[in-house]
């Protein structure tokens, strides 16, 4: 049985600091500390008081754990207003574009996720079973949904017809912009997808394989992507559920408490409580 000693506080801070570096994908900055990180992670896994200490520290910094890997804790901001949150502008900088629209990016992200995890069980399935995804597949998903939204039955249509929907926005973008290399060229499905995929690959969420004889790149998901989606998409799912059920306040309450639970507990702990 382990207990907290006086080193634990600095160590917990150290783990958070190193995990921030790890989550940012800065491998060079992390490499001198890899041994220290391993020790800290061992302590994190073995000692429950230490785990709680780290989690309360993360909570105080408005961060959340997406997944725990052997190289560190993958962190993200707890909400959009937190200090560490990646804003649309920052994301645009990372993608080297400034004219992004959050709704478009969300659609593209969701389309990629749908292409990779069409079933709810896929989010728990081993990643090797999920196969690869190519840009074609994502375009097809987008096409399918852009069409489907148009065909929704009138009674399913809970919005004022004057309100523009996300699908309408996507429909009004060209699939491909032949002038994409020109400086002022606007967004297109292909450009958005490629940019988002590039970033996902650079943050180790997806693996890109281009050794195929054809010149198309195949993308495979990593467990980190799966877990990140499970955690990050919870909010999106709940907010959609609210929209779908006409913003039932009761449902909103339960969903928000569920969400809080999921946030305060680490994924391992959350599983344990579900089993109990």
């Amino acid at each position: 049985m382990t207990y907290l000693d006086e080193d634990s506080f600095p160590q917990a801070n150290r783990l958070i600091y190193l995990s921030l570096i790890y989550s940012n994908g800065n491998k060079r900055a992390l490499s001198p500390y890899s041994e220290e990180m391993t020790e800290l992670l061992q302590k994190f896994r073995s000692s429950e008081p230490f785990q709680k200490l780290v989690e309360s520290g993360l909570k105080a910094m408005e961060l959340q754990i997406l997944t725990i890997t052997n190289e560190g804790l993958r962190l993200s901001a707890r909400n959009a207003t937190s200090f560490f949150a990646t804003t649309l502008t920052d994301y645009g900088k990372m993608l080297a574009r400034t004219d992004n629209k959050a709704a478009d990016l969300l659609c593209v992200h969701c389309a990629i996720a749908t292409a990779l995890f069409p079933n709810e069980t896929d989010l728990d399935a081993p990643v090797e079973d999920l196969g690869v995804v190519m840009v074609d597949d994502i375009i097809q998903v987008l096409r399918r949904f852009a069409d489907q939204e148009q065909k929704l039955a009138p009674d399913d249509d809970i919005f004022d017809p004057q309100v523009r929907t996300a699908a309408q926005r996507i429909r009004e973008l060209p699939e491909e912009n032949p002038d994409s290399k020109r400086s002022g060229a606007g967004a297109s499905w292909l450009a958005l997808i490629n940019r988002v995929l590039e970033h996902l690959v650079s943050t180790d969420y997806l693996l890109a394989f281009d050794d195929h004889q054809e010149e198309t790149i195949e993308y495979r998901p990593t467990p980190a992507y799966q877990a990140a989606l499970r955690q990050a998409a919870v909010y999106a799912f709940h907010s959609f559920r609210n929209v779908a059920t006409g913003q039932d306040p009761q449902l909103k309450e339960t969903s928000s408490t569920e969400q809080q639970q999921a946030q305060t507990l680490s994924p391992q702990l959350a599983e344990q409580t579900e089993e109990n």
Binding site: A102, P161, A166, E175, E176, A233, Y235, A236, S239, A262
Partner: protein, 515 residues
Amino acid sequence: MTAFETILEEGTSNRTLATDVTKVVHSSLIMRPIYELPGRIYRQTGQEEDTPNLLEHIDLMWLAFATLDIIAELTEYQVGASRTEILQHLLPLAEAQLQVQQIQVPSSALENVLGKVFDHLVNRDNRYLPFTYRFYDGAHHQYHTRKFWLIKAVYTGQGKESFFALTDAGYVAYFGLHESSALDAAAIGNLRIKLLIERGNVDDALTVTEQNRKQCLRKANEVRDVRRSIERNIQAVDFRHINQLADEGADQATQIQQESGRLHHLVLDNLDKNSDEEELRYKLQQLAENLERLNIQQMELVNQLQKLPDDFNSHGHKLFRRRSIGVMPAMDTITRRLFATPEEHAAAVGVEFIARFDPPLRQPLFDPGSMIDAIDRALERQSASGDLYQQVEEEAAELIEYFQPELNDALMGEALKLLFTTVAGEPILLSQLLAQAAEQPTLAEEIQLLLPIAMSMLVFQCVVDHRLAEKYHLDIEPQADQHVRLLLPDGRLYRGHELLLSSTHPSTYFSVHQA
């Protein structure tokens, strides 16, 4: 479904002047890009010298509709047509127009105009986005916007050029149809099929095989997609659709197969008749081979199509699978909801999603140092760049004299070697060591002269730096009240304390101590 379409659906029951006018306005908006074309191009090329003359003699609207027709024809058997391809087809038509009036124009000027026609039809100036027009809805006393493409870039994922295809709006514009009910869409589809049949190039057997092959490939791709979605997400697949696909697809494929079988016979007959001409024979044989391969391919396709319902059944157990414990529903259902959410809401969710999904950001703090760096960089850029990269004229250049130490590496190496060999045996006094160094006969003269000095430097280094001494396994002990005065070969005088040097290397150390 927009409010406007509901008016269309309601039909004649509550027709008023307002609804009728709105309907006509709505459908004639489709023609607006084409009607706007001459004005647009006049405005663009008005300043130039030679082109206005050309524009007066050319029928731009004719060319615009010709563009639509060319694309319609080219896309019957391929996904899309590239810009150059379309312009190639368009150029002779425009030249014919000019020939009637007996006007001579350089073809580059003509191509330029045709390119502008095409660019306008794809709305290139507005980044290939749809044409957007506002119109007044008299029945609802509101303004609406209508957005549509005539020609749209299709994503194909291959090749360097992008491909364009007609949209439904494009077909509507071409056939001049005024949509008054939903049935028109079906009528437009029929017209497309008719166009295909009327223009069908049945005489040319080689092209037909090529076309059939493409059809076959297209169908095969469709089957592959359906199969994949059955395996991955059976909930999203409609069984009726599968059945329909299997029936229709099988019919279609057998038809094509019969046709190409007939062609095969025809070719074989021809082969018998034209057995004299070598080249023709070769071509016919090629054709026969093509057809045979096509037949096999189609057989496979038919098999696959008929297997589709079986595939569905074998994965059917997944339909009854218990909902997983997770809090989340399937991605497909979520995405459907997401795409139906109003744009602002989706944007809000998107912002939140990005924050929660992406790694936390390192916040930049204010750093005066970086400020100074930035100013420095700016100033450097202002100073003449020639100063930084001045080239040295070769004639003016003199070789820079670098410092060459007298005690060079080779010399120090020799001294070290000597030190090791002499100390390894037993402890030795510094004076003896220097004397030995002075009397090394085997070496070259310049080394010989400086060797004692190098040796004394080496000993001095070891005295100053104990780590160096450890590295050489040397133990240096000053001898009390003993001094050295030694005249070295090059005339220098060495003065100093006497030192006793002994080796601490394990092998020698033990042998000395045991002795």
